[in-house]
Subunit: 400 residues, 2 copies
Amino acid sequence: MTVRSEPAQHAGMRASNLALVLGEIARTGSVSRARVAAHTGLTKSSVSALVTDLISAGLVAESGPASTERGRPATALALAPAGAAGLGLEINVDYLAAVVTDLAGAPRYHHVVRRDNRDRGVDEVVADLIDVARTAAGSAAAQGLPLAGACVAVPGLAVDGTVVRAPNLEWPRVDLADSVGDAIGLEVVLENEANLAALGEMWFGGHQDDSAPLRDFVHVSGEIGIGGGIVIDGEVFRGAHAGAGELGHVVVAPGGPRCACGGHGCLERMAGQQEILARAQVATMADLTHACEAGDQAALDAVADAGRHLGVALASVLTLLDPAAIVLGGAFATLAPWLSAATSASIGHHTGATEPPPLLVSGLGSDAAVRGAAGTVVRRVIADPAAYLAQRPAGRVGPS
Amino acid sequence: MTVRSEPAQHAGMRASNLALVLGEIARTGSVSRARVAAHTGLTKSSVSALVTDLISAGLVAESGPASTERGRPATALALAPAGAAGLGLEINVDYLAAVVTDLAGAPRYHHVVRRDNRDRGVDEVVADLIDVARTAAGSAAAQGLPLAGACVAVPGLAVDGTVVRAPNLEWPRVDLADSVGDAIGLEVVLENEANLAALGEMWFGGHQDDSAPLRDFVHVSGEIGIGGGIVIDGEVFRGAHAGAGELGHVVVAPGGPRCACGGHGCLERMAGQQEILARAQVATMADLTHACEAGDQAALDAVADAGRHLGVALASVLTLLDPAAIVLGGAFATLAPWLSAATSASIGHHTGATEPPPLLVSGLGSDAAVRGAAGTVVRRVIADPAAYLAQRPAGRVGPS
């Protein structure tokens, strides 16, 4: 049995109480110290001391009078608008993006650079990403937003700061977190873009105020590749080797053509952007959208065909995972007006379900992943403010 | 904030400590009071008092001298061989089964009645199940095993004691738990047979002593229907509406023939027992096995074809869920010698994975679900012995 020392126990309890108080302020948006005490079970004097620390660390601000229960005046607490901020970055096949999010999750900076990254060297793309990151960090500094860290959305599998697989970029192993982190002086983590898009949708997609907020759903993220994010009880499901949710490689044409992943008949091979554009005989997604708007039959047929393939994959997803909703994101959100009817019909045909779960369309589209990346950083601060405080001189506790 | 009364707090703490102590005894198999105290962090006197209660309730027995650290003699504690037992029952399309399991999970009674239940009325099948259950309960009584409850494996979806869907039996809604429970005087719960088969495999499939015990895997259960059990971190994953894991209805032939579920091209429609038997031109699974053993080409082709379809479904499962292993159970375990090569090749072709997770073969075969059902009952006693004690006069606590 491990015997813990008293100071360590004390620090652990302080850390968990700081998280309890900050979490309550984040959850409610605006709340008095007395209500925080009532809802957390902490004493009023403990709450006052913890709130003082959170205010001096810049994470919480007094925001005017709070509603009170017995007419006594009280001061409302809220997340500080200039508290810790998060830098979200995204490398995708045909663009780079950056978002700065404040502690409450509101976007304070957003920039997208469209450029095909497939024909360029890894070093060139990483250098561009660092430029994009520096510009975003400059904007955060100019707005007085202290960045708590950065998270990079990658179109592939990342393990411990290294991109280990990015089939659509054809990258070797790339130690991306260290390269970017050293250049911008922030702690950097990597995450699959489809998983981040699912989180972005859950946090910022406008579902928070729904009668049933999204907590168990599958998010379809269609860029050049097709990705999927499986969210179970509010958490991304990653599987045994962090490879879960690869919707683009569900088999929709058994024995079909070879896919870039090495498999055959994958959804991405049958309904990815390149396939749709080729069938529609147009060059870009913007051209495709215009053609659909103009009622071009080849374009409409190409999109409907992709929708049917997507419906086959989603039929298997519903059968295996029984989610409460499916969200069409990325390019599929843009194409939804011409795609969802075919997808729904295909789901119905292949599952026989009379009431399949709702097929929602993302309001964030291709921004979901980079929004989710920035959100991941500030969510981590809210979940563990003590760790954030420990990085700042003002928040240091105990001997060091 | 809810203010708990002191006695309620005390009872809650006693319940959680009883579970801690019994769980430690179950985990280790044989252990001294002193080691239980060291591993749980409880005082030796608390452990002694709790163990006395568990012994008087018949759940724990002293089993001879324990190994000691400093040469002092100590008495070993183990789960009582005649402690609470579990009754597992199974209704399947072509058989009924019962198992009695002692507290350590060892089977003490096992009986299977082969009979096609599709052409018979619900009442007739339920009456037969009650007969099977009574005979099993009689055997438990004769062996001095007190039954703590029963769990029925059903080939479909069960919610709160009611079978709400059983496509291969074509049953209406059936309040099965009450019917069986009233007849045999035990609390009865229902669970999907594919989920129970996965749990049976995890608990009793011989993987407990492996270097990496099964905790994250998908179990394929092939009887007349094809089911799947998804286990994530040791727990069955049920999805948002308890319908997850329906491997038999993953789409393996898009636009293919209609399935009993209302969908099209489902795995079960393409590779279920009826389909295999029809293609092999034999009448029963026993005939099929004999034909395969004799090298009959039609039989071998039919099984390999089913294996290829199964591989398509499993390719999508691997892609979506990234499990650490797949276990072939039920009839697929019996057919594994002629099926797994085709399944593995199809998985490889459709995923391109050079090292897919292992394709294991269940040693329990068609017994996995009923073993899992009985195991569920005794696992519940071990997880919450206070609830079991509260049902027995000897174990009653507090005013009543």
